[in-house]
């Protein structure tokens, strides 16, 4: 293993495969940012493992020149949990979609969060099933007309951030495909976090759900419609940066920038992440992005191997000899 910190360029992480997403798809921007971030993390390239399920977004590992596993629909978190619990020294990332990670794979996603296993999950939320041509997904809004809901979907959606917070994820963040600078900061913070990290990326599907997020992401409105939760920073927003957010015991208030609370993803204000993420995204409070939660808890993969070492220490290292002869035996002849 290399001892020096390797230096890489973005292109070191591009595989020789042609990228086959639709022109204009938000996935391109995510690929770009991830490759740039990976190049700068100081992690030997051979230690990255990119795992995915099935979906447009899940093609991701094929475009990364790292070790990669394109799994089956919904199971990326489980496959990645296997890689990470086997070899904690590897840098294991899951790339998944709203259908892959929250519908068919919802169970694995919440259990990976509960366990705080050290994998980093990037969930591409386009609020649609892209690869299967445009059915409503578990994040599609109620009433959405799609090919499988011609009169409007009757399902209520998941809020991925609330789900992650409720499932005990220790790092929960949201970023946006069209804001690469922010995305890179979030991905770096996710990597720096010890344990499980969940990053929802708001992603535009130009073919089946175009402009689903323009009310949040459009250049014209975004400063007024987004508030960045950044640890240690004030919760300010607005074109002129003059507005702010303050938590009261019973509500969330819009105040002037100087009255705004300072965000602490691991502290007191962090407890308000749940209240904040539930606000109507077309309502009065801007949509929160950034880091909702960043706390420390025991990390499963490290603990698994610490327990092995402790038992080897306590009982002595098992050998074939000891395996065969431990316990009650008797001799014939």
């Amino acid at each position: 293993m290399t001892t020096e910190t390797p230096t890489y360029k973005k292109k070191d992480f591009s595989s020789d495969q042609d990228v086959r997403w639709c022109p204009g798809c938000g996935d391109y921007a995510i690929l770009n940012s991830v490759q740039q971030v990976f190049a700068g993390l100081g992690v030997p390239k051979e230690n990255f493992v990119c795992v995915s399920g099935i979906g447009c977004s899940s093609r991701f590992p094929y475009y990364m020149d790292t070790y990669g596993f394109h799994g089956i629909h919904g199971r990326a978190a489980a496959i990645a949990s296997g890689v990470k619990s086997a070899r904690p020294e590897l840098d294991v990332w899951v790339f998944t979609g709203d259908g892959d990670g929250l519908s068919i794979g919802g169970n694995h996603t919440i259990h990976a969060m509960r366990r705080n296993i050290g994998i980093k999950t990037v969930l591409f939320n386009n609020r649609i099933y892209g690869l299967t041509k445009g059915q409503y997904s578990p994040t599609s809004e109620r009433g959405k007309k799609t090919i499988s809901s011609p009169y409007g979907s009757l399902d209520a959606p998941f809020n991925p951030i609330a789900l992650a917070l409720g499932s005990g994820a220790t790092f929960v963040a949201r970023t946006i495909d069209t804001q690469p600078k922010h995305m890179k900061m979030v991905l770096e913070a996710a990597h720096a976090h010890k344990g499980y990290a969940f990053v929802e990326v708001i992603q535009n599907c130009v073919i089946f759900n175009h402009n689903a997020f323009t009310h949040i992401t459009d250049k014209e409105v975004r400063d007024d419609r987004q508030v960045d939760l950044w640890p240690g920073k004030k919760l300010v927003f607005g074109k002129d940066g003059d507005m702010g957010i303050k938590f009261t015991p019973s509500d969330i208030e819009i105040v002037s920038a100087d009255e705004a609370d300072v965000w602490q993803a691991d502290g007191e204000t962090g407890a308000n992440a749940y209240r904040l993420c539930h606000k109507d995204e077309r309502g009065e409070i801007p949509v929160p992005i950034g880091i909702f939660r960043n706390v420390e808890r025991p990390v499963l993969d490290e603990d698994i191997h610490a327990q092995l070492s402790a038992q080897i220490e306590a009982q002595g290292e098992g050998t074939l000899e000891s395996l065969l002869n431990d316990g009650d035996t008797w001799v014939v002849g």
Partner: protein, 617 residues
């Protein structure tokens, strides 16, 4: 011991079958296991058959709450837990009702009359007390005892509550049997001392009950003339341990980990009757074994597949319903060409079926039950101790050929016990596994296939070998995703050739008995013991019958067709609706006599003998 005892005659028996039956809360499994351990330490050959309901504690006294443990111990080589018991211990009316028809005429019948009250009789759906039947005394060595009262008396001074005292009644029964078969209670005393080291009163009560049992038996009228002994079996020399199939599977997997030099990783979700493998492996932490209790069976296999990609010897364990959930991921392992051992401890199906009963009805499922052309080799264990060797074989095959392998055992094997001749380390052949290194980076191809069709197992963390695997069809060589028509045809055939080619590595088949003749009894899996017993007995009677038992059920051995052609009739007893029979007809165009049994109980020796005799008549 009184002088009287020493004067009593000792009648030597060769082979005894005891069945303990009672409520699932009566400790029948424990009692049976203690008698088994004691007999094992005395050097008897053994076979056991625990038969319990799926309810953990069914309402007491009911017919459906009856739990049984049959064990056979002998001074000769035996292979099955026996058909009908010579001795029966019935702890209550319901247990009596469910089992009495099986007891051999002239057998010893110990009945706890304390649990034959009006209420007990009503729960067992008796109108009158069956023990009033005078025929019992004529047909059996009938021993009615009030185990409840005797146990209360015996434990009165130990300081435990009446309720706790009464719970020792199974030990009183055990003590009686130890005396009747003139064996020391030492193994059980040791075990009690360890188990209740921190509860001296409970310990005293248990020891008192055990002791009282021997005194009760000694004073019984029917044993004044003498008691019995079953001497040591003349087993091949070596070190033995008593082992249950699931424990043997776990041990075999750990052995394979040592032999291959690969760390063992288990991804699993609890399910009867496979869970004991998870339990056993979870204890082997000092052998560097990772056990991951996943959120479901799909995650069980997917974590294992991830661990395999990361370079571990990966295993997932389950039973039928869990195997159903793993199907899609099994296809992924085929496509990714990664080693994986899938252990399926079969149980009665379909659906939840009969979780605690045994069956062999997943054979076709194991061989063919996947979407697409997804060949997977299937191996079957034939006895509890053979699970050890079968697990090593499955692991070796998986890692040698970069393929998932299914190991089939079943509830009867998993929970059954027998003496296991512990192999010497030198008898187990290492099969060190190697991986490509950075030195191989130049021109490295993740889907390069050697002449056997096997691709390299390159591990994350190796500089220069970065590659992607997955479920989409891959171009032979580079492993790039490919929808090319000819490549798909080529890859389907390549994967098939690899798996079918494994048959080239099998040892030649060995027929037990004549190499040709009238009848061949062909089997696979846990029917081995009963078939072996039946064929052995018929052979001793001079009958023209042979036995062949398959370790590899897929791909089938190439010499199998020749062997079966040399017999007039091939009988295939299976605890399913004829899976192997269909395979034989399909692969060799040869008709066979499919002997199917799907009662949730294993074949008896006499059933198989009768079937063979039908063909010889």
């Amino acid at each position: 011991m009184s002088e009287q005892t020493q004067e009593r005659k000792l009648e030597s028996l060769e082979d005894v079958v005891i069945r303990f039956v009672g409520d699932s809360g009566d400790g029948m499994q424990l009692t049976g296991k203690q008698f088994t351990d004691t007999s094992a330490m005395l050097g008897n050959d053994l076979a056991t058959f625990p038969d319990y309901p799926s309810e953990i504690r069914a309402p007491t006294g009911t017919l459906y709450g009856v739990s049984g443990f049959q064990l056979r111990f002998a001074s000769r080589d035996i292979h099955s837990p026996g058909d009908l018991p010579d001795v029966m211990v019935a702890m209550n009316a319901a247990a009596f009702k469910m089992n009495i028809a099986d007891l051999k005429k002239g057998g010893i019948l110990i009945v706890n009359i304390g649990n034959f009250t009006e209420k007990d009789l009503a729960k067992a759906e008796y109108d009158s007390n069956p023990l009033d039947d005078p025929n019992l005394h004529e047909e059996y060595v009938f021993v009615p005892v009030d185990l409840n009262q005797l146990t209360l008396d015996a434990t009165a001074e130990s300081g435990v509550s009446k309720k706790d005292g009464l719970r020792c009644k199974n030990l009183l029964a055990l003590g009686m049997l130890y005396w009747i078969f003139s064996r020391s209670a030492e193994t059980t005393e040791k075990w009690l001392n360890k188990k209740f080291a921190k509860k001296p009163e409970v310990l005293a009560a248990n020891l008192a009950a055990l002791k009282a049992g021997s005194i009760v038996a000694e004073n019984l009228e029917v044993f004044q003339a003498g008691r019995y002994e079953v001497s040591k079996a003349t087993l091949p020399s070596g070190t033995y341990r008593n082992i249950m199939g699931n424990a043997a599977t776990a041990m075999g997997l750990v052995a394979a980990s040592h032999l291959s030099g690969k760390k063992l990783y288990l991804g699993s979700y609890p399910i009867t009757p496979a869970t004991d493998i998870l339990h056993a492996l979870a204890k082997y932490k000092n052998h560097d074994v990772v056990t991951f209790q996943a959120e479901d069976e799909i995650a069980g296999i997917c974590t294992a597949i991830g661990a395999s990609f990361a370079g571990m010897m990966a295993v997932t364990t389950t039973s039928g319903p869990g195997l159903a959930l793993k199907v899609e991921a099994m296809g992924l392992a085929v496509m990714a060409e990664l080693p994986l051992v899938i252990v399926n401890v079969q149980r009665g199906g379909p659906s939840t079926g009969m979780p605690t009963k045994t069956e062999q009805s997943d054979l076709m499922f194991a061989i063919f039950g996947r979407n697409g052309e997804a060949p997977i080799p299937v191996i079957a264990a034939q006895s509890p101790s053979d699970c050890f060797h079968a697990a090593i074989e499955a692991s070796r095959m998986a890692m040698t050929y970069m393929t998932p392998v299914i190991l089939l055992t079943d509830g009867y094997l998993g929970n059954g016990a027998e003496p296991f001749l512990v192999p010497d380390v030198s008898e187990l052949e290492p099969f060190p596994i190697t991986h490509p290194t950075s030195a191989d980076a130049e021109g490295f191809q993740a889907y390069y296939h050697d002449e056997r069709g096997v691709r390299p197992w390159a591990l994350p963390g190796t500089p220069g070998l970065e590659h992607r695997v997955g479920g989409l069809e891959k171009l032979d060589g580079s492993g790039v995703v490919s929808g090319d028509a000819d490549n798909h045809q080529h890859m389907v055939l390549l994967r098939e050739k690899k798996v079918m080619g494994i048959a080239d590595s099998y040892a030649p088949l060995k027929v037990h008995g004549g190499d040709s003749g009238k009848v061949l009894v062909l089997g696979w899996g846990s029917t081995y013991g009963a078939i072996h017993g039946a064929v052995g007995r018929l052979q001793r009677e001079g009958k023209d019958v042979s036995q062949l038992h398959l370790r590899n059920v897929w791909p089938l051995p190439k010499d199998l067709g020749d062997v079966i052609d040399r017999f007039d009739t091939v009988i295939i007893p299976e605890m399913n609706r004829g899976h192997l029979s269909r395979l034989i007809r399909m692969e060799f165009l040869k008709d066979v006599d499919s002997f199917s049994k799907v009662t949730g109980k294993p074949f008896t020796v006499s059933e198989i003998m009768a079937r063979v005799e039908g063909h010889l008549a």
